[in-house]
Subunit: 360 residues, 2 copies
């Protein structure tokens, strides 16, 4: 249960995830109605109720961060399940709800707990640990949820850090389509991590339990992968190189830094899930309007968003003293770039609803 | 689920609870063997296993603070239950364990999570909220534990803060036997809080579930209550008055400050538990050697212990800027006093094992 990694920025300050997570809220809002509909249609509450002798329905949010998005998503799920109990059971009773808020041990759970809604219809528990491993007992969960999290890898692929490997990622902080070895190393790590995630959840979920995933994706490649770039992170890499040139740190420090993120494609995601035998895909689609919260091009807000996500990792490698200069440079470059002219062009969220067919 | 209160000092620093909790460890260690013995004799694992269709045994520590004591206590309970499964069930299987670490929302859960043992035989979850209220679903718990916590009241009794009440506690920060009205207000608050605690746990525990309580007590009063004093906290009150005299704050600030703690008596505790109809007392005794970790008179260590416990409350009322001066004064007074000559004289821990007879 090792947790060597770095979480979203904690606390409530101007650079916190709490204050810089409206893009993720867009994804969540876009999925709200779909989740309600699917719970109403597909959640077999009579089977779920009989699967535990208590009257508790358990829900887990994997990679919940510090709020407030997680609370809105959970509220939606709790209401939808309550409604189903209200309208479907002849022997009417609303169950009690237990919600597990999971994120890495380094997540700021103190902030999460302080922000928990005062009026809530569920018991809340924080579960520290990587969602690539088991975090809950066997068959203890009825509904799992994970939004904007699966692009985080469990680790940077080892090859890209190895000077002697053809996948060595010199001078860059992420994969690009033009270097196949690096790209493949990242894609392979993603496949492995997604498989670990699915295997762990399949054990935690009851038979017939549902899982809703909101997965940040890039559009399916039309011809080949060689044109793939991630402009916002490419820009971040170029800022680091600028700072190295200014002498703030050695250029080799950029060579040894890589972001542990990979943005999959709907087709690839589908194939990887189908390879796992514990789940059936009940629904899969690209969310509409998932990026509505970042439609106003504003370099300051955009920089805040990127900073809340990646500062933890950057600090650990480059030191906290250069963070302000790095993100000031970043904001200037965003302002000068074409990045915000059409911010929605590439970002998309794939919604997947899975049903657990594993008998624990 | 309001949580207006202040927890033990967080973090890992020299003034943290983590570094100043060896007296509480003494209590825990003194109870270890008794808990093992009672689990072996009294935990009806066949009934418990049938009470949930999953193979999970759930354990809750109420008022766990930041560790490490809670981890040692939980380890002991998990091992004892595992052993019982190993030796008692013909159809041998060791269950999975889910442990709920509960404390107030203001507790430093980040530190607790960071200190979680890497090698553990249980799934861990943090549950933020006052243990005077329900924190877990109905019938979701098999074993509850709470050590050195029940002397914390949910609030300072209102009368002692009221200038117009005969129970107004002018110039003192706690009850003493010589002022009956103040003493009764505290005793009444304790009775009410203990009842809330027992009612909440009775709903959370399964029928036949066990609860082990380690309750800090004073010896049963021999004649009357008028001689009751709590020298270590009386000394703290006198330091606050000294600081007020020095002009660091107004004397009225001492009048309006009261510690929300009450140390019960074994006889009183027994009577209050018996008044609750959800539990049977299976065992009750004064622990031997529960204070062995504070037998070396050392004013510095003793001050650190008191500071880790009460600084949160004192800071919130008097401001953090006077804390160093307050505890330097305290350490000097402890050194000059007879307090450490026989530190074990009054402190005692009553162990109580309860069985839940409430059918959820």
């Amino acid at each position: 249960m090792c947790d060597q990694f770095y979480a979203m920025n904690g606390g409530h300050g101007s650079q916190s995830y709490t204050k810089n997570s409206s893009p993720q809220r867009g994804a969540m809002e876009a999925a709200e109605e779909i989740i309600k509909e699917e719970i109403s249609k597909k959640l077999d509450i009579e089977k779920l109720s009989s699967s535990t002798s208590t009257r508790t329905i358990s829900i887990g949010d994997f990679g919940c961060s510090t709020g407030p998005n997680t609370f809105l998503a959970i509220q939606n799920i709790v209401e939808a399940i309550s409604k189903k109990f209200e309208t479907n059971l002849s022997n009417f009773h609303i169950p009690e709800f237990q919600v597990y808020f999971n994120d890495r041990t380094s997540n700021d759970f103190n902030t999460l707990f302080a922000l928990l809604p005062f009026e809530r219809q569920y018991y809340a528990a924080g579960v520290p640990g990587s969602f690539h491993n088991r975090q809950l007992p066997m068959a203890s969960l009825h509904f799992a949820y994970s939004s904007c999290t699966l692009h985080w890898l469990s680790e940077v692929p080892k090859e890209v850090m190895n000077h002697f490997s053809p996948a060595w990622n010199k001078g860059r902080i992420l994969y690009y389509g033009d270097k196949k070895e690096v790209f493949n190393a990242y894609a392979h790590q993603f496949a492995k991590d997604l498989n670990s995630f699915l295997k762990a959840r399949a054990q935690e979920l009851v038979f017939g339990g549902l899982m809703a995933l909101l997965v940040p994706c890039e559009p399916n490649p039309i011809k080949d992968l060689s044109n793939i770039t991630l402009p916002s992170l490419e820009l971040l890499g170029s800022c680091l190189i600028d700072l190295a040139k200014k002498g703030l740190f050695d250029a080799a420090k950029v060579d040894s830094f890589n972001l542990p993120v990979y943005f999959t494609y709907p087709n690839e995601l589908k194939a990887l899930i189908e390879r796992n035998e514990d789940f059936i895909i009940e629904r899969m689609e690209i969310l509409n309007n998932s990026t509505k919260h970042i439609t106003t091009p504003n370099s300051k807000l955009f920089t805040g968003f990127i900073r809340a996500l990646y500062e933890g990792l950057l600090k650990a490698h480059f030191g906290s003293e250069i963070m302000d200069e790095l993100f000031n440079t970043y904001e200037e470059k965003v302002e000068e770039s074409a990045l915000l002219l059409n911010p929605n062009e590439n970002s998309m969220i794939t919604f997947v609803l899975l049903k657990c067919k594993r008998i624990s």
